[in-house]
Symmetry: C2
Subunit: 202 residues, 2 copies
């Protein structure tokens, strides 16, 4: 019954379309349940199995447990950002900042705000969240480094702090609508321009 | 049994220490339960009453329901920020930015990250959250306005966007530890200085 060629590291063996369909149904069901308000803690393998129309054993054949399943589900929800176009530093920053909240999957807006506070509940959840957001941070640091090299950005900028200034406002606004009076039109470009120019008079 | 001089609008009549002690026990119990991981939805008047060692009727004599009780409890947890010292624009901004995460009550770090995603679950919860954070935003706008008047800040700055740049990074970091590699020493001052100076070369 258990296919011994399957391991939890390679849940989707090629050439097995029926398994792939089951995997997809399982991952989609987990995302649906999270989007409907389930917390990570409350989410059970049993509930996922019921929703996906499979037995619990089918899930345990593919994933070692909830964390591994969620990792795959969240990767599916939030793929790494596309490489920046490599045009001007300003345009690359705008493209990368704008990734927040531009995910076409409507479940992202429901799930991500719930994930954020959960990420400090356990080292596993923290790692899971960091793994989702690190690719964009890496790209942002790279664009900043290029900007410094080109002389377009100041040589003494703090890259990690600059990443925070560029990303935190849009995350807070797009996911939490933190400031009701913040104009959201062209927000990525306005953030990038404000961070570049500063608020001191020139 | 019901004291008819009490209304839900005036839960703490002066000169009645026994009621005040009961009120405090009730509000503290609600905060304890939230800090221990209860969601706002899951928090019940019954659980609060049990924790506080009072009857449910005692709670309903003082508050119209959970939302009114939570409003008082959260106000207790997160009082409005102190007026900025009124020294330099930079120092006032640092003082106001630094308010995030400087609350001495250890429950804040547990409760606030859970409140944030909940604030979009219902208009009531959104209002509750906004009421908690608006006083600081109002003070920040006022300091920015003064900075522009004094010529220390550029006249064309977007106040609401600037408030987002100043506050979002510290909220994300202090409450969620969003960036493991972000140096947290003197973070309020470093945020303010970076937002003032910008990252373009001068």
């Amino acid at each position: 019954m258990v296919d011994v060629t399957e391991t939890t590291d390679a849940p989707r063996a090629p050439g097995r379309p029926r398994s792939i369909r089951a995997d997809e149904a399982i991952l989609e069901s987990a995302l649906d349940l999270l989007a409907e308000g389930s917390t990570i803690e409350a989410l059970s393998i049993e509930a996922i199995a019921t929703r996906a129309g499979v037995g619990k054993a089918t899930i345990y054949r593919r994933w070692s447990g909830k964390e591994a399943l969620l990792q795959d589900a969240l990767r599916r929800l939030k793929p790494p950002p596309p490489e920046p176009p490599g045009k001007s530093v300003r345009e690359d920053l705008i493209a990368l900042v704008g990734v927040s909240g531009h995910n076409p999957d409507p479940r992202v807006r429901k799930i991500m705000p719930c994930l954020m506070p959960m990420m400090n509940r356990s080292p596993e959840q923290y790692r899971l969240y960091q793994e989702l957001v690190e690719p964009r941070r890496r790209m942002l640091r790279e664009v900043l480094r290029r900007g410094v090299e080109l002389g377009e950005l100041r040589a003494d900028l703090d890259p990690e702090l600059t990443v925070a200034l560029l990303t935190a406002p849009l995350v807070m606004q797009r996911l939490l609508r933190a400031q009701p009076d913040l104009d959201e039109r062209d927000l990525p470009a306005r953030i990038v321009d404000a961070v570049i120019a500063g608020i001191a008079p020139r």
